[in-house]
Symmetry: C2
Subunit: 353 residues, 2 copies
Amino acid sequence: MAQAKPQNVKVKKSVTLRDVAKKADVSIATVSHVLNNTREVREQTRKRVQQAIDELSYHRNDIARELKTGSSGLVGVLIVDYNPFYTDVLRGIEEAVEPLGWKFVVASTGENWEKQKELLHVMISRRMQGILIAAVDGFDSKYVESVVPADIPIVLFDRRVAGSQMVSVTSMNFEGARQAVEHFYQHGYKKIGFVLGKDLISSFQDRKSGFEQEIKRLNLISRIEEDYPSIEGGYEAGRRLFSKLNYDFIPEAVLVGNNMMLIGFLEFLREHQLRVGVDVAVISFDYQAWCDVITPPMTVIRQSSKKMGVTAVNILKQKIDGNSPDDVRLQVELSIGGSCGCMQKINRSNHLF
Amino acid sequence: MAQAKPQNVKVKKSVTLRDVAKKADVSIATVSHVLNNTREVREQTRKRVQQAIDELSYHRNDIARELKTGSSGLVGVLIVDYNPFYTDVLRGIEEAVEPLGWKFVVASTGENWEKQKELLHVMISRRMQGILIAAVDGFDSKYVESVVPADIPIVLFDRRVAGSQMVSVTSMNFEGARQAVEHFYQHGYKKIGFVLGKDLISSFQDRKSGFEQEIKRLNLISRIEEDYPSIEGGYEAGRRLFSKLNYDFIPEAVLVGNNMMLIGFLEFLREHQLRVGVDVAVISFDYQAWCDVITPPMTVIRQSSKKMGVTAVNILKQKIDGNSPDDVRLQVELSIGGSCGCMQKINRSNHLF
DNA sequence: TCACTAGACGTAAACGTTTTCTTTTTTTAT
DNA sequence: ATAAAAAAAGAAAACGTTTACGTCTAGTGA
């Protein structure tokens, strides 16, 4: 429980309510009421107070305010990494939090349970209205449930946690992987590889189950290579997938488990002159803007990342209002490009440009 | 000065120092001292206190602590958008802030001065140790200087502000653009286009000056198209650059002003079957991981984005320590791929894989 | 003229810490 | 055994707000 002692720096006195009150020759109560519009104040004194505020360039000390009122108007968000997927989610959170008059703060945990624990404590001790968490590998929900005060609601996003009471919003990962395999099948591919993250988190596991189940249903041959969900991991898993040691298995099509691994995997293919969509079909989880401008464009399983953020906030709001919202599974969409082997629709526009 | 009244929600009582003190049968002072290791406490009572803390799962209320100590141990960061460049900077900030025992919080302003003002007030009223700002178009430094208390140091990053006293850390944008033009020149290109963001911010303006100066020095022909620094803006600027209405000017090489515009610009080229590195040479500001896996790989002017974050924090630290640090200009690096017309070095490895 | 009411504002007690100043307890030296 | 010294722990005053009460003034109706 020992908390790191921040290397604090004394701060000089700043303008307080009292200073304003003195300058305007009223009580601090009046100033407070002017600030918050919380009771009638004669126009004349209101003016005086406003002027004093402006002249001293007073800023309400929200720390004191929060201490008094017991609520911060702040939502805490714990993401795993500042990757494009999570930043999209952030945009959604931002959008949803705004009309509620709240603000939010972010911190990243880097798939590290110890760090997530630490940051969770920061959020708790800053008395957040609520906390949105993308749970890392190793997440101990018993611990979290025991340590988080009953009055701070928690919402999990992107990743569920098995055997936890906490409500979550996730994507239909199972379904996404299933669809991808089905799509490969429609192309006639029989040997399917899967480059997957090795962390024990629900999104990867759901994708794995969806993949495996569909492989089985369609009687296909498959091989899964797991590695770190990073650029390097994608490269390495790709290498193993195409290793000469697999006499029996050279994949015709590969599903990639997330946006980071995709980059590494494409790097691998490029280095070994395997042409995407020709020598090997590729579908990846996670859409990003650049997926459209490469050749061929990527076929991806697109999550509603922004909506995930919005939904997480909505769920949080419901919990704060005393309701018990259910888990939400967001739709995913198979967005067809050329990387899966589909005909490359080259847009031959011939109007002036 | 009217501040949005957050839709607060009453929070039930939580465990306080007093509760712990009662349970451990000591005074709250002792508990506080145990928590902070700030005076001798007999092993025996320390144990009792610890146990009480654990049993009640007490969390220090940092809000109260901050009110008392007057410092939050928090650094506020105002970015323009959650784009890959800024998230890299964030990683740098994170890295630099950690050993100081601080944490940081982020908010994004969306190139909107009103919103930046609002969020600045949030940061001030939460009594941040310091504030790191990527100044938006319209940034009024007189206003900021008048409104920020003397005890909250401000550091600008990514963008300087003309006529402001505030210290800044930026990239050598002028030099980067200059180098790019020079590189085009070495390839023999004479007609150079520039797809640039239209916001009045120092980074764009410096890039523009560097571009123009080098064009002049080398006696080249150029054309600059400015638009929103977004995907759409990049597309539009590209369209105008290659408009049939420019009888006299069809660019052989194009410099692109940032990572978002690049995507739009590449989209434009693809749609009109202009091959990168063949029909038109391209260099862009801002490196991103995917730049390496496309064909041809992008030649980019790479900023030290992470270092920018680290540096910003260091400068902040110096200001807090009472020094007056100077502006810093970070080196940029022209990272050669194939998009500029340079020979594409295809890595033909022939070892087992 | 006198209660009475309503409007306008002031007083003071919290909120949960940190920290200075005391007080109490323990240890040590005689 | 006792006084002095050292160690350990308690009491209470802040920090800057919000807010439940209380007070004061002026206006009303009889």
